[in-house]
């Protein structure tokens, strides 16, 4: 026993020593070596964080396919700086923890630009990571003001911010001559932001914000808020959350006797909205939305391309993701380099770059100069949202 154990511990010591040696010898990306930077040849890697699991997982595929389409098109046209683009996608699950590890993974894989970000709450913690690694970001979907409020040089939003969407909503409310409005959010970052912006702007415009309510997403029963609406009778209600709850609210508030207009924000603009609300509950529903391809004339070809690639029709944020890649590629091309400062300069210098949301120029705080928001309503026959008013007139 004594002898045996001594021999075994000797074996163990040797094994440990050997493994440590082997590991340190094989050290390539350890502390001693520098951070992995763009190597200058091979494909240029664009990273994208999007939700592929969790409650928002439906949007991940829309974003990925939109971006992939742009990548394919650019590669076919010869790429950027003579190099091909490669899209690297990671899941952020709409959750800070997963997003951070995903962002770190992207950085490790050597991306030079980020074109992802769906949930504001999950995108916020990734900003410092990309910033530290010197990676410029064009964020296609997340649009919380907090993203740009931090003043990081590499952050650009190409989805209209809450302020701009709220402005569109207020403009429409004024157009239909509403005096009393209400706003409901679902306590998510995006929704609460938008609701706050709407309240502020509506008050400024002289509208009375009668009801401000918050609901818990994932529940089915919103009769409390429906009853509130029915008794307060605002002319227009702005729902800033997602379509799952939006559909239920449309239905339940109508059942409760609410007869005003239900305006929904872009998170609710989805074909499922009408399905959930049910027939007969969508006449009074309008939405604020950036233009989708089916609303733009001559975009059929784009939709066909997308459907070819994805095997499915484009959805929310497909176009923004598509545009994000193109914007980023254009900026790199303009800058002639993948260096952080150069690319940021390139992005800042873009003027009237043609996107789905109209000609794009970044404002000094890196948001869109024009939000590109339009008013959409539901086509009773198909249940999809169609253009109602482009708010230009």
């Amino acid at each position: 026993m004594q002898f045996g154990s001594r021999r075994r511990s000797r074996v163990l010591q040797i094994a440990v020593a050997a493994s440590v040696l082997a590991l340190t010898a094989g050290c390539s990306s350890g502390l001693a070596s520098g951070a992995s930077a763009d190597s200058g040849d091979g494909p240029i890697k664009f990273g994208m964080l999007a939700p592929f699991s969790g409650s928002e997982s439906a949007f991940g595929a829309y974003m990925q396919n939109g971006a992939q389409l742009a990548v394919d098109e650019i590669n076919e046209a010869g790429g950027v700086l003579g190099r091909q683009i490669e899209l690297v996608v990671e899941d952020d699950a709409c959750d800070a923890t997963t997003a951070v590890s995903g962002a770190n993974k992207l950085v490790t894989e050597g991306i030079v630009a980020s074109v992802g970000g769906y949930c504001s709450g999950a995108t916020l913690p990734t900003l410092p990571i990309f910033d530290e690694a010197g990676i410029p970001m064009v964020i296609p979907a997340a649009n919380s003001n907090e993203l740009v409020d931090q003043g990081l040089p590499g952050v650009f939003l190409i989805n209209g911010t809450g302020d701009q969407q709220a402005a569109a909503a207020v403009q429409y409310a004024e157009q239909i001559g509403a005096k009393k409005v209400a706003v409901i959010d679902d306590a998510t970052s995006y929704s609460a932001d938008l609701a706050d912006a709407f309240t502020a702007q509506a008050t400024e415009a002289g509208l009375a914000v009668d009801v401000t309510a918050t609901v818990t997403p994932g529940e089915n029963d919103y009769s409390a808020v429906a009853t509130q609406l029915a008794s307060a009778k605002p002319e227009i209600v702005y729902w800033t959350g997602y379509y799952q709850e939006g559909g239920l609210i449309a239905r339940q508030s109508a059942d409760a006797g609410f007869e005003g207009v239900l305006m929904v924000a872009d998170g609710s603009v989805d074909a499922k909205f009408a399905e959930i609300a049910g027939t007969g509950y969508t006449e009074n529903v309008v939405g604020t939305f950036t233009q989708t391809p089916d609303m733009i004339e001559g975009a059929d070809a784009w939709i066909a391309d997308y459907t070819d690639l994805a095997g499915d029709a484009p959805g929310p944020y497909s176009t923004q993701s598509y545009d994000a890649v193109r914007v980023m590629a254009q900026a790199i091309d303009d800058a002639g380099s993948t260096e952080f400062d150069a690319v940021v300069g390139g992005l800042e210098d873009l003027t009237d770059f043609d996107t789905f949301a109209g000609p794009l120029t970044f404002t000094p705080d890196h948001t869109l100069s024009g939000g590109g928001f339009v008013i959409v309503s539901i086509d009773p026959a198909s249940g999809v949202f169609v253009l109602e008013d482009d708010l230009q007139g």
Partner: protein
């Protein structure tokens, strides 16, 4: 010797007669005792983990490794509650949230440096543990499960709806540790090795905290308090009959679990520099519970393995991520049905130590003889005891 030891026991009216014989000293050495082997193994693991950044310092590796370490800390805390004290806590992530939010609020909203937030975090977690524990720990274990779940949701919803917690988007821009003007973010160079980003440096801090946490939880589990917890877990009435105030024992388990989670929360907040309510959903409570159950409730090595499995598996097996909750769910059922003590049960004995039994002491060596004939007679009587059928009738009455 005996007189020195006597002082360690408080005044007890009745003291045991001295043992009849001195027990052989426990074997030492790495392979001759469970304790020695586990220490050696633990040391080896710590060294390997510490070496990791020298091999691969990519932000990704460090990031998931830090997260995994934080998971280990969380699981050790939950292990105190579930594994040692047998209290099913389905809202454990709430304490994690308390820790993360308190340190977040202290550093961003109130502007204190991070090291000052540490005592605040611990204090907040103790208070939270008492607030949650005091009303619920009188309840039966299954009620407790649901109530803790409810508490977890309350904390999350509250964080989501308050302004001070940043509402749904949470708190971001949480600073890192800094002392006298020098912060982790600066990094430094030792002996030609550059510790460039705070991420890498932070990994070491996390490692130290977690090693302390693991050893601390293990030690608590072995002492007086740990025995009380395990007694409460195995049989609450009998524990009460042994002079253990089971309520206090349970609350103390709760508080210690809360403090562990709170420290993990602070590590997480600093590590991510941002926190949002989404990270504190019931799902994560369940994940931690799964780690503890799969690894082996009450078993330190088991829990560490479980924590590493749960946190690293989705990263290592990319296709697995999609299926993980389903697989974890099935695993939970399967483990409970076929291996309820987990992967590495708390009662596990290393295979090569299993057959070891103490050599029967020679009766001539008996010390402090008390009725010297007595022990000599009884063993011969007891020889016929094995396989006594009486247990069935006894147990049938209550089962």
């Amino acid at each position: 010797m005996a007189r020195d030891l006597a002082g360690a026991l408080k005044h007890a009216p009745l003291r045991a007669p001295a043992p009849l014989f001195e027990r052989p000293r426990a074997a030492g050495g790495i392979f001759d005792s469970q304790r020695g082997f586990m220490r050696a193994l633990g040391g080896l693991v710590v060294v390997l983990v510490a070496v990791l950044p020298f091999l691969d310092a990519s932000p990704y590796t460090i990031s998931i490794a830090t997260s995994a370490l934080i998971y280990v800390m969380l699981c050790m805390g939950l292990n105190v509650v579930v594994g040692y004290a047998g209290l099913l806590d389905l809202g454990y992530i709430a304490f994690f949230a308390v820790g993360a939010y308190v340190s977040g609020i202290f550093t961003t909203v109130l502007g204190f440096p991070m090291w000052l937030a540490l005592p605040a975090t611990i204090a907040a977690c103790i208070i939270a543990g008492i607030i949650i524990g005091a009303p619920t720990l009188r309840l039966r274990s299954d009620y407790l499960a649901i109530v803790t779940l409810g508490f977890g949701e309350i904390i999350r919803i509250t964080a989501n709806n308050l302004d001070i917690t940043g509402g749904p988007s949470g708190i971001h821009g949480i600073p890192t540790w800094e002392f006298l003007g020098w912060s982790f973010a600066d990094g430094f160079t030792i002996a030609g090795l550059e510790f460039p980003e705070r991420v890498v440096f932070y990994y070491f801090v996390a490692l130290v905290v977690i090693v302390v946490g693991v050893i601390g939880a293990g030690r608590l589990g072995k002492g007086k308090l740990g025995r009380a917890w395990k007694a409460v877990r195995d049989d609450e009435d009998a524990a009460e009959a042994m002079g253990i105030n089971t309520y206090i024992a349970k609350i103390s388990a709760y508080i210690i679990g809360a403090v562990w989670a709170g420290m993990a929360g602070q590590l997480m907040a600093t590590h991510l520099s941002a926190i949002s309510p989404n990270s504190f959903q019931f799902l994560y409570s369940a994940l931690i519970l799964m780690a503890v159950v799969l690894g082996g409730m009450g078993s330190t090595p088991g829990v560490i393995i479980g924590a590493l499995f749960v946190s690293l598996a989705p990263e290592l097996l990319r296709d697995f991520a999609e299926w993980r909750y389903l697989i974890f769910g099935i695993l939970l059922v399967v483990v409970m049905l076929f291996r309820p003590a987990g992967l590495w049960p708390a009662t596990a004995v290393l295979p090569w130590l299993k057959k070891r039994r103490p050599t029967p002491p020679p009766f001539t060596a008996a010390v402090g003889a008390y009725e010297p004939n007595e022990p000599a007679v009884e063993p011969s009587v007891m020889e016929s005891v094995d396989g006594l059928p009486a247990t069935d009738a006894e147990e049938g009455r209550r089962a």
